[in-house]
């Protein structure tokens, strides 16, 4: 038997020893299976395709049940993703199945952004898981895994080639999810056209570098069937929930005037192959790939974006503690710097404002000083005027006094002259 992964990992460090009897650890796979069965399984399928390609019908046919409601219209303004979760049970196996449908895909005139909501949805589920994984107190084993495990991409049965919307969308998704392209409503294509169509699709996918999901061929027990199925990709499917009597059996089929297409007839379509591969053989592998490859890629990109590295500049490996401590120090440093900057800004503003106000104060004082000076000048002038008036008054007074004196003298002289005259007159007489 080929060596197991564990054995390869152990390498030289382990010695193989023979057992001398039945120990019983060969029940380990059973123990593991029991645990999984008790825990229940979960599987999430995303169906992408234009309105009317039979996505809901195919899901109903695949899981032998009637899922959600009414068919959708063509008049959606954008692409919406509708998700429904169902609890199914088959013998003792419980499956929580989530079917996500793209509503309105391919209906718009401008389909440039059509892939975005889908990519966002897938990333959102990855992000939710990542957040849970990073929590300090986490409950991963009870976490309801909402990550998309398989993406069924419905190709319109034109018979010619893929639409550019198909290529663009699949290219955006191939590193995020396991893409299984299927040709929808393939009862519209004849067998010969179908072969050519499949070849065209496959070559277009290859030439555009789109990585679709390959059924794994590393496990011998399923390698043969998987590799044979790989050569039938993309599967051409027909879905139907209506039953028609063929012979004495009721089978799922679509009845046309010219004949009946039987869903589970491998000559009519690849439905059985799809069911076999998707559900019965590779469901677990799809889940594993989602976790080990697509999720890890998302996680790696996200962590690198956040600045995490595995080794420090000297190429020594970081321990988790060191990584977080380094982040924390960087973070604290940043905060401190911001605080410092803010303080500095305030100090600056205060200085500026102070200078402004001082300037204003100075101006004010200068203004009043100059007014004061003006006032002083005025006062001086006034004083001078006063003085000159006083001088004038004095002069006038003097003049007046002098004049009066003169007058008095004159009067006196006159009076004496008059007296003299009178005296003379008197003397005359």
């Amino acid at each position: 038997m080929a060596s197991t992964e564990i054995a390869r990992q152990a390498g030289e460090g382990a010695r193989a020893v023979p057992l001398s009897g039945h120990v019983g650890f060969d029940s380990m796979p059973d123990q593991l299976v029991n645990k999984s069965v008790n825990h229940g399984f979960c599987f999430n399928i995303l169906c992408i395709g234009e309105t009317g390609l039979g996505k809901s019908t195919l899901m109903d046919t695949l899981f032998n049940t009637k899922f959600e409601g009414d068919p959708n219209q063509h008049n959606q303004p954008g692409v919406t993703l509708k998700s429904n979760t169902y609890e199914l049970q088959e013998s003792n196996v419980r499956l929580k199945l989530t079917v996500v449908n793209t509503v309105g895909f391919g209906d718009q005139i401008n389909k440039d952004e059509s892939y975005k909501p889908i990519v966002d949805f897938i990333d959102t589920q990855f992000e939710a898981y990542l957040q849970e994984e990073l929590k300090i107190k986490r409950t991963l084993h009870n976490y309801h895994d909402s990550r998309i495990h398989a993406c069924l991409y419905f190709i319109a049965p034109t018979g010619h080639s893929l639409k550019s919307l198909d290529l663009v969308t699949m290219k955006k998704l191939d590193s995020k999810v396991n893409i299984i392209p299927i040709i929808a409503k393939s009862d519209a294509i004849s067998k010969s056209e179908l072969a050519k169509f499949k070849i065209k699709i496959t070559s277009e996918l290859v030439s555009n570098g789109v990585q679709i999901y390959q059924f794994p061929t590393d496990d011998e027990s399923v390698a043969e069937i998987n590799s044979s199925m790989n050569s039938h990709l993309p599967f051409a499917v027909v879905g139907s929930t209506e039953e028609v009597k063929i012979g004495n059996k009721m089978v799922k089929a679509r009845q046309y005037p010219w004949g009946t297409v039987q869903v589970e007839n491998e000559n009519h379509c690849d439905f059985v192959k799809l069911r076999e591969m998707l559900i019965r053989v590779n469901m677990e592998d799809l889940r594993e790939q989602t976790h080990a490859r697509h999720y890890e890629l998302y996680r790696r990109c996200k962590l690198e974006e956040m600045g995490f590295k595995d080794t420090d500049p000297d190429s020594k490996p970081f321990s988790l503690q060191e990584t977080y401590e380094a982040k924390r120090n960087e973070f604290m440093g940043e905060l401190q710097k911001k605080e410092e900057e803010m303080r500095q800004m305030f100090v600056q503003r205060v200085k500026e404002k102070e200078a402004e106000l001082k300037e204003a104060e100075k101006e004010l004082h200068e203004k009043f000083d100059s007014l004061k000076k003006l006032h002083q000048d005025e006062k001086k002038k006034l004083e001078e005027k006063k003085k000159s008036l006083d001088d004038e008054l004095n002069m006038f007074k003097q003049k007046k006094t002098a004049a009066e004196l003169l007058l008095n003298q004159a009067q006196q002289a006159g009076a004496s002259t008059t007296l003299k005259r009178d005296k003379e007159r008197k003397n005359f007489f």
């Binding site: 020893v17 120990v23 919406t80 998700s83 979760t85 088959e90 911001k338 004010l364």
Partner: protein, 429 residues
Amino acid sequence: MLPRSSALFIFGSQQQKNLEGYVGFANLPNQVYRKSVKRGFEFTLMVVGESGLGKSTLINSLFLTDLYSPEYPGPSHRIKKTVQVEQSKVLVKEGGVQLLLTIVDTPGFGDAVDNSNCWQPVIDYIDNKFEDYLNAESRVNRRQMPDSRVQCCLYFIAPSGHGLKPLDIEFMKRLHEKVNIIPLIAKADTMTPEECQQFKRQIMREIQEHKIKIYEFPETDDEEEMKFIRKIKDRLPLAVVGSNTIIEVNGKRVRGRQYPWGVAEVENGEHCDFTILRNMLIRTHMQDLKDVTNNVHYENYRSRKLAAVTYNGVDNNKNKGLTKSPLAQMEEERRDHVAKMKKMEQEMEQVFEMKVKEKLQKLRDSEAELQRRHEQMKKNLEAQHRELEEKRRQHEDERSNWEAQQRIVEQQKLDLSRTLEKNKKKKIF
């Protein structure tokens, strides 16, 4: 960090659905089985106990192989000065299932005169393995992680018949929250069944008294299984006998210990509980031991480690923050800091505004005061001016009056003198 188009996701409620036909996901357990066999299994078992208690012999008996042999001696033959913790890896295969078995033993445990802290190397070993796993799990680039965490610890109790030794209690108390402890009574063939019963009861009493949490079998819904489990629980702790030799008893070749008085058979349920131990440890509960280690003991270690790294001394959010990741915690701290800074900025802004207002007010008051004074002085001056003007006017009036008068007087005088002159002249004639 979540994409903005979450408005485009519509989640329906969960519903139970009945299948109308065989789908095939009941095959999932087989897929799991197949993959697990391909990957291989690993298990790490630790054996702890004083030397001479038959640990190596028991391991060899459990795994029906010469794990310990003259070339690879058991712990009792490798005692050094201090307690060592050493591991040996063996690869065993059975029924297509490969198991990488790591046996960790502790030569020197409990053998010194002073055994204080002889459990410390054991604790350190277990923590180191947890740390290795944590670092591997936290890397940006993760690969298939080898799991070397200790998944079960068989603790050997000496068959004294009385009770637990202080060392036993101390060890179990310190390790019961780090590893699944399965206490075993060693060399059970030295006790009679009654002595053994009593010893077991005493030990279980002491274990409960000291609130030691030994490994507990998980509850199941299966009534049969539960009955079985309850029977085992009654026989705890398991009393075991090991042997490297095969003896012929009644034509059968059995593992046993030959005494003059008979053969103690290892796999005879009436002689000892070896079979129960083997079945439980290997055949039925090996997976559960791994799960409990991963989901409980490791998670406890991890959350304690991450809380320490995140809070780094900040002790107040002990219970609140544990639902986040350290990064989310840092984000929240950053938001808090931003809010705090905003508040601080607002406060500083307010104080700044207020002070500026004060200063401006002062300036305005000062200006008003100066203005008032200036006005006052101006008024004063103007009043003085007016007074002066008035005075001048008065003076002017007076002067012009007086001058007018003087002119009259002068005129009179002139007239008089003329008259006199005339008279004089007349007189002369």
